[in-house]
Amino acid sequence: MTTTAAIRTAPAPPVRRGRPLWWADFTALSAAGLALGIALLGPRLLPDTDPLGVDPYALRLGAVSLALLAAAALSPRLRPALPVMVAVAAVVLPFVLWSALPWLLVRVSGDALGYRVTTFVQDAAYALATLAIVVAAARLARASWWRWPRLGMSWMSAGAALLTVLAMVLVFLAVPATLVGRIAVPLAALTRDLPLLGPAFMLQAVAQELAFRGALLRTLERAAPFWMANLGQALLFGLAHIAVQYEGPTDTIVPITVALGLALGWVTKRTGSLWPAIVAHAVLEVGQAYGVLPGLYGL
């Protein structure tokens, strides 16, 4: 039986009488976090080898995510973990594709595409893959545990998007530049790169919001109080940035992204829409790529 077939035929995860459903989600999230963490960071303990350039770490994350998803789908005892494992797969598997695409594109086209086109293709594929998993999970599951991400657009959500962006930019600017490695970006760089990288970062924001504040938060919310669900998705969001920053410093980016995840989750809940989080996330992605990463890496 394949995983998708298993999901299709899987009944709603059983809830033992007298036992809260949030415990199953908490257990599943802990199991996924532990397994992904070991797979990501464990090989760094291996001696006398260079972890950079020869370490396809995203593949390990994909393997762990698939294995846990398959286990939850196939084993009746583990089935209560299935909703969270689907949400985790929606986070991890598109990331694996995102990580592998530059390597694949170089194999196919050499260096012809260049950095900006490669980034655009990478982020477009990332968004499409996330959307595909969310849609597939929703269609295949047809179960009571699935909840669609909130995608409604309203004046309130548009206003909230604007206010969120303003608030985050102001907060970010107020943090000392030495702490976050913020860099002044010449206008030339923005005008040169934004036509391709702007839409690319927007797509990346769509993918991550769909996965974290969409699939994962909605899944956790069905059983746990909002604060607990929000904390769960924000923690995973922060820890996921250890993988995103695998070859760079993580001591500042992880706490910052946990706080960001909490804020975006709260805005999503208050407005009933993913759009404010998507817009704020896209603006921050642009700011991070241009203004922060070079500083963090000491370039």
Partner: protein
Amino acid sequence: MRRVAAAAALIVCLLSLTAAAAPATPPILAAPPATPAGEPWWVPVGLRGETVTGLTAHGDMITVTASGHHLVSRDGGRTFAAEASPPPPALPTGVDAEVRSGADRWALSAGRVLRAVGAGGLSPDPGAPDLGRDAHLLAAPAISPGVVVAVSDAGVVWWRNGATGSWGRALVLLPQSLFVGRPAITALSAFDEPVSASIYLATAGYSTLLSNNGGQDWSRAGPGLPDSVLSLASDSAGQAVYAGTTDGLWVHHLRSLPAIPVYTGADLFNRRVGTALITLVAILAGLLVMRFGLRSRPSAA
């Protein structure tokens, strides 16, 4: 559970095969000469505690302006002596900066970039931007004919494409906050002999940056150096770059960049096996947490 274990084993096998197919990283091309083993990127030369604002260097001869005094060293910076009289002005009247690059002479005058080919006179370089009347920073590496970098009096860095002669704004990333503005660019330097294509840029607040593509992109190159760098000089004879800072005079000797090690398949075998085992352990740990966690859920009460 048997099916789960089989699926996990299959995934780990696939992972191992994919890892085995991953290519080894090629080495970064080595370039310049040997440097004393273990020497830091920047090394203090002397005059610690002094503010070095003016600087020229050629071999063992170094002249500096330190805390307002003109000093000269004839032993590579080991000792300095006060100059009896200040050095004569090095630039003709009306010229704010001048550099030589092969057969070309480049100058900055009243915000305009001028060029003289061979023994000819200076004439405006077509397409050069107006850099403002106070612009005075200019560099042109001799190894890259036609490549020029200049800084406007507003702090914008411009670079000239050596092949086409066109000018563009450079990508220079400097830290900034709401309360502290962008650091000022204080000096530019390139080698006047065909030694290296690197161009160096000094800032008061973000140390030095270097460009290896003719000034188009810049990256920070100041490990160990004080943040406030006020003057720069490239010494082709000594294959070194000197930096005058608020804490004395420092030197960087040209060297190849640190290269990433290249591993053979045999070197990586143990790592791949270890990685596959760790992945298997990670999966088992996740399964165990799920299994025992779901079995021992607390009661709703």
